[in-house]
């Protein structure tokens, strides 16, 4: 770890040409990857991510550089090279670096560094075997275990010096079912910012059985017939709709530039009265949580939408300067290779009043999107798409036949206004979100909700 006086030297070198803020981000991460497929361990890999990123701001302008030469000389060289991009009058800087202690809200009992490959393989075997034996039509099962122990130190010209450790772990399961030349796959994951006790506290067999069941159901499903219809989106990963259709457009990255569909809409109604949504990076041991964000600010719970009214954006230090508002401790990055910016953490719609059964019973005809896949959104236009990984038709208030290949498309500015039922069964699912500052762990979530009308795509046609 760099000495205080050396860090100060580097920061001052950054500020030679009139920069008004400088920051060093140091990272030392060990990441392990295990994969079990066709009954054998087919991948076991370790990556050591090691380097530093330096950022200099002048008002709303930013320059960033990264290197893995983290000696004081290496950092000074980078600082000098970066400072050449500015040519302003040098400001008087007087700061003392004070080491802050992080309050750990995400305890780890069984550390990734203390567990052997043999122990990890036992978890993979358990989910693999359970899924494989579920049905004769299951042709392949791929189980993966990823752990990511990230140590970061953030030092800046406000005098901040703070370190934190994140322990991301995830078991991923993908089950492929095939019959008569048709293949269908289903997948799910268990993940957290936690130690390996996470897997001891979960029913891994039930988890594996559910994924296998989903693959078999889709193997025997009809192709979705494209049409406009009400859609009931189930809890947990169904929250991807909020994440994609709305969350990304609330990130300061696009709001500050005025290019988001939600730019300038604070206090306005952007969703139905039934929708209250939060982004909460503090939930203990959750996948998208951390003690501090990647600018070193203690994470917090941000209410984004309250009873349909837009309450807050997600704002980082630099964009706060343009937007003239407070930061929301939402600044994140994949690694030292990325300049940090506003991102989501754990984002979800909070519980409403209706039960799952009531929502289904009150839907005469529609699609029940039980498991959502990924999706994407154009933040300028608000247009989005989501894949439905496991779908069923709702007919006369009952879930009837399975359907596959459905895609939901729509516009983020309108979709949340069409939410006409919100359930009371909130759950979160685990995603990896890719955007300006790289791929980061993020939870999505919601109770079961109903959207009164949506375009559902599919290749099943009228016969």
């Amino acid at each position: 770890m760099i000495k205080k006086e050396d860090a100060k030297k580097v920061l001052l070198a950054c500020l030679e040409t009139g920069g008004d803020f400088a920051e060093i981000f140091l990272e030392n991460t060990i990441q392990n990857d295990l994969e079990l497929s066709s009954g054998t361990i087919s991948k076991s890999n370790t990556s050591h991510i090691y380097g530093a990123g330096i950022r200099i701001l002048h008002e709303d302008q930013e320059v960033y550089g990264y290197t893995n030469d983290i000696t004081t000389e290496g950092l000074l060289k980078l600082a000098h090279a970066l400072s050449k991009s500015f040519d302003y009058e040098k400001l008087d800087f007087n700061f003392n670096l004070v080491e802050e202690k992080v309050e750990n809200n995400h305890p780890v009992s069984i550390k990734a560094t203390e567990i052997t490959n043999d122990d990890k393989v036992k978890y993979l075997d358990e989910v693999y075997n359970e899924a494989k034996q579920y049905h004769d039509d299951i042709s392949q099962v791929i189980a993966t275990l990823w752990d990511h122990n990230q140590q970061v130190t953030i030092i800046n010209s406000d005098g901040k010096m703070i370190s934190d450790t994140r322990s991301h772990i995830r078991i991923g399961l993908r089950v492929i079912a095939s019959k008569d030349g048709v293949m269908q796959s289903a997948s799910d994951s268990i993940a957290g910012n936690q130690g390996f006790e996470l897997f001891l506290n979960r029913d891994l067999k039930l988890f594996a059985k559910n994924v296998a069941e989903s693959a078999i159901n889709m193997l025997n499903a009809e192709e979705m017939e494209g049409q406009m219809m009400p859609v009931v989106i189930h809890n947990a990963f169904g929250g991807v709709i909020l994440h994609e259709a709305c969350g990304h457009a609330l990130e300061a990255t696009s709001v500050a530039k005025g290019i988001s569909v939600f730019s300038g809409k604070l206090g306005e109604k952007i969703a139905s009265d039934l929708v209250t949504a939060v982004d909460d990076g503090t939930i203990s041991n959750a996948w998208g949580s951390a003690n501090i964000d990647d600018e070193g600010t203690k994470t917090k719970k941000n209410v984004l939408i309250e009873n349909g009214i837009l309450k807050s954006y997600l704002v980082d230090k630099r964009n706060a300067r343009t937007m003239k508002c407070d930061i929301t401790a939402s600044s994140r990055r994949q690694s030292y290779r990325y300049s940090p910016t506003s991102r989501m953490t754990n984002t979800f719609i909070v519980n409403g009043k209706q039960t799952f059964d009531e929502i289904i019973a009150n839907t005469k005809y529609g699609l029940f999107a039980k498991k959502m896949g990924g999706g994407s959104v154009n933040t300028a236009t608000g247009e989005f798409n989501f894949a439905v990984n496991e779908g069923y038709m709702i007919e006369d208030g009952k879930i009837t036949r399975p359907v596959r290949g459905a895609t939901l498309v729509g516009n983020g500015a309108h979709i949340l206004k069409k939410v006409d039922m919100v359930g009371n069964n909130l759950m979160r699912g685990h995603g990896v979100c890719g955007s300006a500052s790289g791929m980061i762990p993020a939870d999505v979530g919601q109770p079961t909700i109903r959207v009164s009308s949506m375009t559902v795509g599919g290749r099943g046609g009228k016969k």
């Binding site: 087919s42 380097g51 893995n68 798409n385």
Partner: protein, 444 residues
Amino acid sequence: MMNYELLIKKAKEKNITEVEIYSQHRQGLDISLFNGKVDKYVMNDTTGIAVRGIYENQMGYVSSENLNDDNIDFIIQKLKDNARALTSKEMGVIFEGSKSYPEVKSIDESFLKINPQEKIEVLKKLEETIKGKDPRITSLGHCIYKETKIDTIIKNSKGLNIAKSDSYCYIYASAVAKDNNDVKSYGDFFITNDFNQINIDEFSDNIVNRAVGLLNASPVDSKKYPVIFENKVFAEILGAYRSMFSGESVLKKVTLLKDKLGKQMVSDKITLIDNPISTESFSQSAFDDEGVGCYKKEIISKGVLKTFLHNLKTAKALNTQSTGNGFKQNLNSPVSVQSYNLFVQKGTTSPDEMIKSVDEGLLITGVAGLHAGVNPVSGDFSLQATGYLIENRKIMRPVNLIVVAGNFLDMLNKVELIGNDLVFTNQQIGAPSIKISQLQVSGK
């Protein structure tokens, strides 16, 4: 800087029978402009190594960016731990090198020496040009210049010691168009080794026409239509299905093409080629990341499946030869099987002639959600799309919020016309425009 000879020596002492170091030095510059001001300016200079070695008959992998000699023991220990965990029957191979390597055109790196200020000026001119072309263009979502230089060395205990260098730069811009209450955006890139080939006016014209052209788009009725995929769009879809042609997918039983070698799988109009030394792409490679020489091969020849792509490991497991496609996705990942300049051979029809062949159909100029809406295992896709409605052989109006759906192999069976406009994406996937006789479209 780490002493690689010392690492090899120490590994041998610890009973690692063969060992290989893959070192990658990357330098880059990344500039974004927004409203005339530099919004993002990122410089980087990093070196990392990936070490793999055979221990107890398995190939262990470790990568590290800590290149101090005192990290060597950690690397060797992890390599052994990882090798010991493996139970896979397919074993990796450390290769002594091919007898000869193809010539590739020498890389023009002159753009690396151009002053950054000049690159910023190009972006400013690009932004002004795009904004100046139509009053409905309100802003640019992106206006980016990016350059990368990568120097790779592969050195192993079998005496292989080879090096290669690659570099390229690109511009990417996306324009936001507004009209009354409607907002549309369109983005495009231009990638090259030669900075002087950047033609701002032509590049801007296309982006502006597309962004403005999509304004006031609406869905079409749900039914089957003949569909023309524009070249870049088809290349994107092909890219999402590239794993179908990988020897790894054959071993994992996750490709519909397993056991289909020599069989007519798609329309005889389709020839699919992987050519790492193609001069039509912006990047060439004389050898893959295992040191195997690269060459051109037809994966599908007139509709018949001729070969899968292989690295040393999949080739050995399937009793065939490596096709020189053992590439790493990134430094941290093991050598997998990757295409390198994968493309559909071009035909003779011009894009205009293609439009004139349609009575009622769609020209698709953009798809979204490829990571979610495409299933490379089943071949099924269901994609949000934008484009234009063609009626009576003419483009009538813009179309958005529709879903085109089908199955990739089934679609390749319904190919009616192949364009003469082959283009490569920045993912090194190429395609001409392609007309499909019929696809299911969901809209209104």
